[in-house]
């Protein structure tokens, strides 16, 4: 079962990622990205991280991607046209070689050393909200604070950039 789900979610995720990159229309790209994220949530669930899996859907699919779609629709015109120019064919190898090289390296490494299985047994309640919360408010309190600061800064930053809301006093 786990094997099947892994291959299913993994394939879906990679497909989603690829289509995101390949599609010319930004909206379609975004929809494929959502697809990839939902598949990634499946992978998280398989990795015994249910809390993270659901957050992945809630935060990415529910909020971040809605923001993306919103902005794409707002800036309609030029974005709709998609990519106008193609990359020069001469540059294709330059783009393609590094990832391929990495994949080849990884492939040889696996061929040499085989695969490493998960060995450590998991405690009960691993990855549950309680577990993550205890860590978040205990050992990783600094991280928690950093998260809040990052979000605060983001809020202030976004407000500062977008604050010039256009008021049109026509009347």
């Amino acid at each position: 079962m786990e094997t099947f789900l892994f291959w299913f979610c993994g394939a879906a995720m990679v497909l989603g990622g690829l289509m995101t990159v390949v599609q010319r229309s930004a909206v379609v790209s975004a929809v494929w990205l959502i697809f990839a994220f939902v598949a990634a949530a499946g992978i998280f669930a398989l990795l015994h991280a249910p809390f993270v899996a659901i957050l992945q859907v809630l935060v990415y699919a529910g909020a971040i991607m809605v923001l993306f779609l919103f902005v794409i629709m707002m800036l309609q015109g030029p974005v709709l046209e998609g990519e106008r120019r193609r990359m020069k064919p001469a540059l294709w190898p330059a783009v393609a070689i590094p990832p391929l090289a990495v994949l080849v390296l990884v492939g040889t490494r696996i061929a040499d050393h085989g695969t490493a299985a998960f060995t450590t047994p998991l405690p009960a309640g691993f990855g549950s909200p309680t577990h993550v919360a205890e860590l978040l408010l205990g050992r990783y309190l600094l991280a928690f604070e950093l998260i809040s600061i990052a979000l605060l800064v983001a809020i202030i930053g976004a407000l500062a950039i977008g604050k010039e809301e256009r008021k049109l006093p026509w009347k």
């Binding site: 990679v14 930004a26 991280a49 935060v59 994949l103 990884v106 695969t115």
Partner: protein, 101 residues
Amino acid sequence: MEVTMTHYLVLAALLFLTGMTGFIVRRNAIVMLMCVELMLAATNIVFAVFARAHADGGGHVFILMNFAIAAAEAAIGLAILVEIYRRRRTVNVDDLKALME
């Protein structure tokens, strides 16, 4: 075939490389931002894999941190893009470069 840690890591690597390639290839700044999100998701998977491998929830905490960063990045990135679009009427990075020169 049993699914091992390596499988997950290779998957994450594939996703990361896809995102990276997209970031280099695409010219539309919004899509480029989406590719960054893709790369962040790949790193999250790696975190989750090692959390699982070491039975240590710390990985999950960092995934949460990553979420916050991704959200912040999206919010600010998109705000900047909207502002750029308002001034330059384009979100195509080539055009933006041409305008700057």
